[in-house]
Amino acid sequence: MPPSPPIESRSVPVPPSTAGGWIVPGRPAGRELVGEILELPRTLRSHADLLKGGLSRELSARFRGSALGFGWVLLTPLALFAIYAFLFTRVLGLRMGPDAPPAAMGVYMFIGTLAWSGVAEGIARGTSSVLEGRNLVSKLRFPAELLPIQAALASLIPTVCGLALFALAASFSSLWSAPGARLLWAPVVLFVQLLLTAGPALALAAWHVRLRDTAQVVGVALTVAMFATPIFWVASPELLPGIEPLLGWIEANPYHHLLQCWRAVLMGDQPAVVFERTDFYSSLGFAAACGALSCAFGLAVFLRGRRELADEV
């Protein structure tokens, strides 16, 4: 709701629209908003350098002053995997059913954790990205939507490194069977993950600028979502008998489908119990559709209020 101008200035003849290069107040709506959303690929292309620079800076900032540096991106998932494999297969002796290989539970959790932590980190960092980038937003004509998108992109890097490491380890050791031809789908799954991260990040970033409680809510919601999404447990009534009535809800969760896709890509289709209720292509399709929708929604929310951001941060 734009404030109404003081009475005296209303009498001035003012160009009513953006035609002729006039810049007028108000939020973009309808066709104008769609136009701005469709502008995104061009913005991304013209600012590709900035994004690249921002990503490398973010990574180097994260590991600045550490001796191992980028090695931590690889070491963290490696340690995770070792812990999971040891704890769940050796110590607890958990098995995904009688036919499943012994490492299955560890691999299942490992892949879920890696992908989810990427999503969660991207959303959390994306939410606060605009406020943290206030120097850019308020002092320059900076396309602020790049900030949450950059956060989402950055969050993919540890996921990619960890999953690539797993694929390598599985191919060259006896830990797990080598991933099959479905590995070729990995870039697509990664893109879907980007959509599912950037969409919420955009909307939440825009809200966070106006209401600083948003980041707190997001923090709690992400924790809830981590347990509500099958990461440490399997959505199978065979393994978790109490889960039956909740299955409908679980299957409406796009992040569940995203994780299932990652697992299908990296684990093959075994153990069957993990995949009996999902089909790779329909999961991917559902996750992709949700991702595209969330991005469209996030961009619409973000771009609608973008012009006011500079005054709010």
């Binding site: 709701m1 404030p3 005296e8 003012v14 006039w22 600012h47 350098d49 120097n135 002092k139 012009r307």
Partner: protein, 403 residues
């Protein structure tokens, strides 16, 4: 289709809204603005402005009058709340010194970022980056993060980055505030060159001197509205007069009631008492400075000759010569026999100091600049009083004595 106007605004207004509390804001969001307590502050309203290409406009006005807001809107960093504006050509804004730089990016990256945000391609910026860093004198630290820069260095980088890509429209907010004298001068020279090259310049300053030096036209903003606009001398004089009336001259360091001593006029006359604006080097002139001092505070009066490029060529003062000013008002006549200044246009700046010559009550610029023409062929700033003595080659005796 390029408009002849670089900047055009119609009823431009900017409102800042503050909410009584975050809860009120949520309430407003949920009820589409029907509820929720907030207060609107119109920092700018009803500004109509037409700035032709190649012109330079200065903004003056008291603190909080909306100068910076106007510049921010026109530079595109914030959006208007009412009215409309359009700009043509690339607009580079230098709004706050050192701002707009990402502290973690290196100087080089920041220049690149700036250029890309201005709509240049990476290649165009890369081609000029050396030149920009050279102007900023930061080649040695170009790859260090900007947060390690001193404020002066960041200022230099900002200035160089804004000017280095040859924007068609330059928007500058109080840029002469920091930086050492030498670099300030470099900036002024560069700006004058840019102006001569036909760029459009819009800038705001509290220094009426800078405004007059840089601009053809000026606009005085008062409480977010245009009070007066037009020729720079007229506008700045009216603004200065209003400030003096308010007893709160931004031109002077002090603020206070009407009773502060002040200079009421500066006039150049010849020895016969005729008003002058153009003299020849070597002429004898008088500068009449009228003052009032109703509370009989101890005061001293000074006069500076400032060349157009900010070089203070000479400054004289009663405190240096042990002259006492008595009474509640008067005119002191500064006699300058055989003016030593060579050709140039000089701005006369009257200073009113306290009794010790330390605190400046007021700095007043004469309405008319003093134009000096050469009667002789010497070049330089001043013609030193001199004569030549010739000695033959055999003696070592050197006398280039001054008379």
């Amino acid at each position: 289709m390029k408009s002849q106007l670089a900047i055009e605004t119609r009823g431009l207004g900017k409102c800042y809204r503050s909410w009584a509390s975050p809860t009120q804001r949520i309430l407003a969001g949920l009820t589409a603005g029907r509820h929720g307590r907030c207060t609107d502050h119109w920092a700018l309203s009803g500004v109509d402005l037409e700035l032709p290409r190649g012109s330079s406009l200065g903004l003056c006005g008291a603190n909080g009058a909306g100068k910076s807001t106007l510049l921010k809107v026109l530079a595109g960093t914030t959006s208007p709340s009412a009215g409309a504006y359009r700009t043509s050509g690339r607009v580079a804004g230098l709004l706050e010194l050192g701002a707009g730089f990402h502290p973690d990016f290196s100087g080089r990256e920041n220049v690149l970022l700036n250029g890309i945000l201005l709509g240049h391609s990476r290649r165009e910026v890369t081609a000029r980056i050396g030149e920009i860093l050279e102007f900023a004198e930061l080649e040695d630290v170009a790859d260090a993060p900007v947060r390690t820069y001193s404020s002066g260095m960041a200022m230099r980088l900002g200035f160089a980055a804004a000017l280095g890509l040859e924007p068609e429209v330059l928007i500058l907010d109080e840029v002469f505030a920091v930086g050492d004298q030498r670099f300030q001068k470099k900036c002024v020279d560069r700006l004058l060159a840019e102006r001569a090259a036909g760029r459009t310049i819009l800038f705001c300053s509290h220094s009426l001197y800078d405004l007059r030096a840089m601009c053809d036209e000026a606009l005085w903003l008062r409480d977010g509205r245009v009070a007066v606009s037009g020729e720079v001398a007229t506008v700045t004089n009216r603004y200065a007069a209003w400030q003096e009336e308010r007893g709160n001259s931004a031109n002077s360091v002090a603020s206070g009631p009407d009773e502060w001593p002040r200079i009421t006029g500066i006039a150049v006359r010849d020895t016969a008492g005729e008003a002058l604006t153009e003299v020849a080097s070597g002429d004898s002139i008088e500068v009449h400075i009228s003052w009032v001092n109703s509370e009989r505070r101890p005061i001293q009066i000074g006069l500076g000759f400032m060349r157009q490029d900010h070089v203070l060529c000479a400054a004289l003062g009663t405190q240096f010569d042990g002259v006492q000013l008595k009474g509640t008002s008067g005119t002191c006549v500064l006699r300058l026999p055989k003016l030593a200044l060579l050709a140039g246009t000089f701005r006369l700046v009257g200073y009113l100091f306290d009794g010790d010559g330390l605190h400046r009550y007021q700095e007043r610029i004469a309405d008319e600049d003093l134009v000096v023409n050469n009667a002789t062929k010497e070049v330089g700033l001043v013609r030193l009083d001199h004569d030549w003595e010739l000695t033959s080659g055999e003696t070592d005796d050197e006398h280039g004595a001054a008379a």
